[in-house]
């Protein structure tokens, strides 16, 4: 796989789908979670819809998504984003709605700016929850990358494991699984490293 160059191509394509799916689902989940967690009207409108969609197994929507988006990357990215939206949304929603009222009270006495309170108090207060949601979603995204590449794909680690399985190439399957596993672990560690660098106070809150 290394010498033929397929590993690099598969890795590149899977990573692209993973990053795009994570970005799409993660950003949407955080934004909607912030809104439903703080604005009761938005929560009342969106929560029932989200709660209906949430129990759907993400794998079950893949055939429908292929019909909508075709067999290109769009369908795979959407499936990944759909799967990770819910844990990110739920964690963000809980984090934002459970902020200690003492923090809000202190902030309101010190500043009149709602934007500042949102950016400097509400969002950082919810950050441990958001990060937990995103970290959980990274693992889910790897599952979805694999599953979404099983059908309608011509490259990617999932696709490679699938076709080596059809050819009874056990070595190829194991190689694909090792790469997928290593990539998952590496991504998780990179995520922890990045969050600790960006938000150094978090390492104290998770002691």
């Amino acid at each position: 796989m290394i010498t033929s160059g397929t590993l690099v191509t598969d890795l590149r394509d899977s990573l692209w789908r993973l990053i795009m799916g994570l970005a799409l689902g993660g950003i949407t989940g955080v934004i909607i979670g912030l809104l439903t967690g703080r604005k009761k009207k938005i929560k009342n409108i969106l929560s029932p819809i989200i709660q209906i969609l949430r129990p759907l197994p993400p794998v079950a929507i893949i055939p429908l998504v292929i019909v909508w988006f075709g067999i290109d990357d769009g369908a795979k990215i959407f499936s990944i984003a759909f799967a990770i939206f819910f844990p990110v949304w739920l964690n963000t929603h809980i984090g934002v709605s459970r902020i200690a009222r003492e923090f809000l009270w202190s902030a309101k006495l010190l500043t009149a700016s709602s934007l500042k309170i949102f950016c400097k108090v509400i969002f950082p207060s919810a950050l441990p929850f958001i990060i937990a949601g995103v970290r959980m979603s990274i693992a889910i995204a790897f599952v979805m990358v694999f599953v979404s590449e099983l059908s309608g794909a011509s490259s990617g680690l999932g696709y490679r494991i699938s076709i080596t399985s059809l050819a009874y190439r056990i070595d190829g399957m194991i190689a694909g699984l090792i790469v997928l596993g290593a990539l998952g672990a590496l991504t998780d560690q990179l995520f922890i490293f990045a969050t600790n660098k960006l938000f150094p106070w978090l390492k104290f809150s998770t002691k």
Partner: protein
């Protein structure tokens, strides 16, 4: 002239009355302590004064107030300097830098300005919270059992530190505590809250520039026993 005036303050929760027809007046620069058992309404009283909870009655308070809580005192995601700077939006950069430096010195935390609250002790965190409130230059400071979670030694040190700070700033302070000794040591006046209202008021006779030695005097002990009796001869509803 009264700095704070409260008339017929009543706060009702779903199943019970937390405060009923409370009247309260505080002069400018006065240090008033409120003592009471758990659930007596001390915190509710402060929350009503600050306008955090709905109430009936009349509360006349200056608009610019500061508050220090026992828990959630400082924002954990901001450094000591950033916490102190939080309420200084209206100041320009030079003024901000000056105020931050002054209050870091006041809180004796200049060498810890870039630390996060989780890296500080309980006493230091409370000093950050108080410095943050004072940096905003409030007219009234509300303190809700700020030393409730501290050990006895740190608590004693913090009490002396607060008195020193108060001597400099002369803010009007409403200090809620369940610790009678702390209330007498710090305040000009101690009010006992029970059964939804103030049941007794004590004027603290000790002159200012107090130090911990007065806690061992017979007068101090007598006053402590009187307040203790007042608290214990009433039953919580």
């Amino acid at each position: 002239m009264n700095h704070i005036s409260v008339k017929n303050l009543t706060v009702n929760y779903e199943n019970y009355c937390a405060l009923k027809d409370v009247n309260f007046e505080v002069a400018k620069g006065e240090f008033v302590a409120i003592v009471g058992k758990s659930g007596s309404g001390k915190t509710t009283f402060l929350q009503a004064l600050a306008g955090f909870i709905p109430f009936s009655g009349e509360v006349i308070m200056p608009k610019n107030i500061g508050i220090v809580f026992q828990n959630y005192a400082a924002f954990p995601w901001l450094t000591v300097s950033e916490n102190i700077a939080f309420g200084l939006d209206e100041k320009n950069n030079n003024e901000q830098t000056k105020i931050i430096a002054e209050h870091l010195k006041l809180a004796e935390l200049t060498d810890k300005k870039d630390k996060y609250p989780a890296e500080l002790s309980g006493g230091q965190t409370q000093r950050v919270a108080l410095a943050r409130s004072l940096a905003h230059d409030p007219e009234v400071l509300l303190m809700d059992e700020p030393y409730g979670a501290l050990d006895a030694y740190t608590r004693d040190k913090m009490q002396q530190w607060l008195l020193d700070v108060w001597t400099i700033h002369k803010k009007t302070i409403i200090f809620v505590t369940h610790n009678i000794e702390e209330a007498i040591f710090l305040a000009d006046r101690v009010l006992v809250l029970n059964n939804c209202n103030f049941i007794k008021e004590y004027i603290v006779p000790f002159p200012r520039n107090r130090n911990a030695a007065i806690k061992f005097s017979p007068e101090f002990n007598k006053l402590r026993q009187e307040i203790f009796s007042a608290l214990n001869h009433t039953k919580l509803e």
